[in-house]
Homo-oligomer: 177 residues x 2
């Protein structure tokens, strides 16, 4: 798929997945895409765990209430380490977001669907930490995002967005030229 | 360019740019790519201003110390509005980072180079606010990132990254299968 095509084809898929597996070769390509993202001062604060072992998936499923996502054959868990880039500056959120965006595009490019689930697991009930413990993730890393990966069983849909001219301008705020 | 190709071709280019212009058509494609990124609860917290008017660029140049970036014919300024997505949750940083990553890829795909400049303008000296004021950006929006866009005058270089197995695993922390 062409880059711009993938960028515009990507949607947040919240439906169920078919039982078609995602081969390891494809998973590696997705993870590599994530790691290819830039990071503030090259601190590489993002790490990734792909879960495709049905036993491990089953364990993770017990702590999270996302019925459709549970039908996906792979879950990619995004980990971050809040390393200071310089002085008091930490770019870990920017770093993992860029890595996630690369993975969203790689996933669509390879014919799969996904959705960026973050609020569900970083909320006060700390589901992310429960998942991290199940995966033996050390305490200095946070599990901040879950990406289910698989073949969509339903059509993708698209939420409406504001028109271009409400969000993008030239040479000044709300200037059109 | 193929999506995965663009993901791996992207580097942080900090060199000078040639005087080849970037046509408006290409700028619009880059901005559209940015706006196509997802946002937490679809709040669309990110806005963009592309500056290609030499007079406006000259003004912006007076407040920032980035000699090479000043040779670029276009600067894309990334704005964010820290809207609450739900309860106390704000995903504005994630939102603009995903938008930036899409733009980095679109820029490379279209044959240009760029670099994500954020720390330079969000630091204590508040250069971002000075730039925002020059562009008439209202006070409830922050200018958080600058992307120069143009044709690279020098070869791109690549910073070294940790090997795959130091950052990506399967089914558990540091597990290889």
């Amino acid at each position: 798929m062409n880059t711009l095509e993938a960028i515009h084809a990507r949607t947040s898929y919240r439906g169920p997945y078919t039982d078609a597996p995602v081969p390891r070769e494809a998973i590696v390509k997705i993870l590599e895409a994530g790691l290819a993202a830039p990071s503030g001062c090259n601190k590489q604060t993002t790490s990734l765990i792909a879960v495709d072992d049905p036993q491990v998936l089953k364990k993770l499923h017990t702590v999270i209430d996302l019925e459709n996502a549970k039908t996906a054959p792979v879950w990619i868990c995004v980990l971050t380490k809040r390393i200071i880039a310089y002085r008091d500056k930490c770019f870990a959120t920017q770093d993992y977001s860029a890595a996630i965006q690369n993975m969203l595009l790689a996933i669509v490019d390879l014919g799969y669907e996904t959705c960026w689930y973050e609020g569900h697991i970083t909320d006060a009930d700390r589901i992310g930490r429960q998942m991290a413990d199940m995966l033996d993730v050390p305490q200095d890393m946070e599990l901040v995002c879950l990406l289910p990966v698989g073949v969509a069983a339903e059509k993708t849909t698209r939420r409406e967005k504001m028109p271009f001219m409400e969000r993008a301008w030239f040479n000044g705020y709300r200037r059109t030229e």
